[in-house]
């Protein structure tokens, strides 16, 4: 779940995003673009999965972002991260879109399920979190990224990696360990929930 962020332990990126939101609401185009780039992809994926239609997914992205600028004045950075805020807005927006497009004047169980089912909440949370993990991976050195790729995504053993990269086995072992340490640090700095 997206957690409420304690003011005293906010990682720098959370503060940066809060400042970006203030600037975006004041009409700073670069800040608008930065927030779009941070959130459009997970919102789009969520819209596609929940609404099943690229057009509606696009409308979801647009609504959530618009809502974000419009309510920036009410956003309290000491209570929640921008990410939790986006999460809350997206859940509401996906229900509204579903309801509106289905032309249902009254809330229906079906519409509620679109965003309030456990699966939907977990899915949106995972999509938003994945985006931050990607950003964390981008901060790693290429050596560390390569090590995670070979050891985890490709499932090579430490011995196989040593052979593949023509490196001493000891170097592969310590590099794998330090790659994980670096990823942990980057995730902490970016406020990834553990």
């Amino acid at each position: 779940m997206v957690r409420t962020v304690d003011e005293n332990v906010q990682p720098p990126s959370v503060q940066v995003e809060a400042a970006l939101l203030t600037r975006a609401a004041g009409g700073d185009e670069a800040a608008v673009a930065a927030l779009y780039d941070a959130y459009a992809r997970p919102l789009w994926a969520f819209g596609l999965r929940r609404l099943g239609d690229p057009e509606l997914a696009g409308e979801l992205v647009q609504r959530v972002m618009t809502r974000l600028w419009q309510s920036a004045g009410r956003y309290d950075p000491s209570r929640a991260s921008v990410r939790s805020y986006v999460f809350t807005i997206a859940r509401t927006a996906v229900v509204d879109l579903h309801r509106q497009r289905a032309r249902q004047p009254q809330p229906s169980a079906d519409a509620e399920d679109v965003a309030s089912g456990v699966a939907a909440i977990d899915e949106l949370d995972a999509l938003l979190q994945a985006e931050v993990v990607r950003a964390a991976l981008d901060r790693l050195s290429s050596d560390h990224r390569q090590m995670l790729d070979l050891a985890y995504f490709r499932g090579l053993t430490q011995v196989e990696i040593a052979g593949c990269l023509e490196l001493p086995l000891g170097t592969v072992k310590s590099r794998t360990y330090y790659a994980l340490k670096a990823l942990r640090l980057a995730c902490d700095e970016l406020g990834v929930d553990q």
Partner: protein, 221 residues
């Protein structure tokens, strides 16, 4: 196995890829050593995070980015503030003139000047009147572009807790004017913006809904 050797193996232990003997030795060391267990605790959640990014996500179309950035707020210029102040004065004078014996607007009412979005020429007003548990919203617009068959304009209120709330759809007359009344749930203070979009034919799959006019609803109303 020493702590140094154990740390050496911890990456492979967490991600997989040690030999069975290394795996067993590392596990045995971890059972004995609290410091190394703490180190493991720092890292063992990472595979779950890596699983999240195993698949490349779908990319939204580039045109969506342009649309969102174009629809974002514009910096407030002094010129705009002057125009807004002039508009507010006009409304206040009009209200005083039409309100009869120096009464001002009735309590629980508000009139906003709606300003056009970039590329649109429409303008008008939105008058809100609170009546019990409802708010009446009368929108008067001029300079509306003619619409294609099946297309409509749609009025919206933004509610911070729930997102956009549709007031309803309407079509302009042949002179580009529209005077329409809607009702919304009270109180008006729950809404932050009013805007009107052009909604092309719902059957058109490639439709886009540009904002025609908009205005922020003051929070202290």
């Amino acid at each position: 196995m020493t702590c140094e050797q154990a740390r050496h193996h911890l990456g492979g232990y967490v991600l997989g890829g040690l030999t069975p003997a290394e795996q067993a030795d590392t596990r045995a060391h971890l059972q004995r050593c609290g410091d190394c267990r703490n180190e493991l605790a720092e890292l063992e959640g990472l595979p779950r995070l890596l699983d999240l990014v195993a698949q490349e996500p779908a990319q939204p179309p580039a045109s969506l980015r342009d649309r969102v950035v174009a629809a974002a707020p514009r910096p407030r210029s002094k010129r705009w503030l002057a125009v807004a102040a002039a508009a507010a004065l006009v409304i206040a004078v009009a209200a005083a003139l039409s309100g009869g014996p120096a009464q001002g607007p009735p309590p629980g009412s508000l009139t906003l000047a709606l300003r056009p979005s970039e590329g649109f020429t429409a303008s008008g007003t939105a008058a809100f009147q609170a009546t019990g548990d409802r708010v009446r919203v009368d929108i008067a617009l001029q300079g509306l572009e003619a619409l294609e068959r099946g297309a409509t304009y749609e009025a919206w209120l933004a509610e911070p807790e729930r997102g956009p709330v549709s007031l309803g759809r309407f079509r302009p007359d042949t002179s580009g004017r529209a005077e329409v009344g809607f009702t919304a749930e009270a109180p008006l203070s729950r809404y932050s913006w009013l805007w009107v979009t052009a909604e092309p034919d719902a059957r058109d799959p490639a439709h886009d809904s540009p904002t025609v006019v908009r205005e922020r609803i003051p929070g202290d109303w």
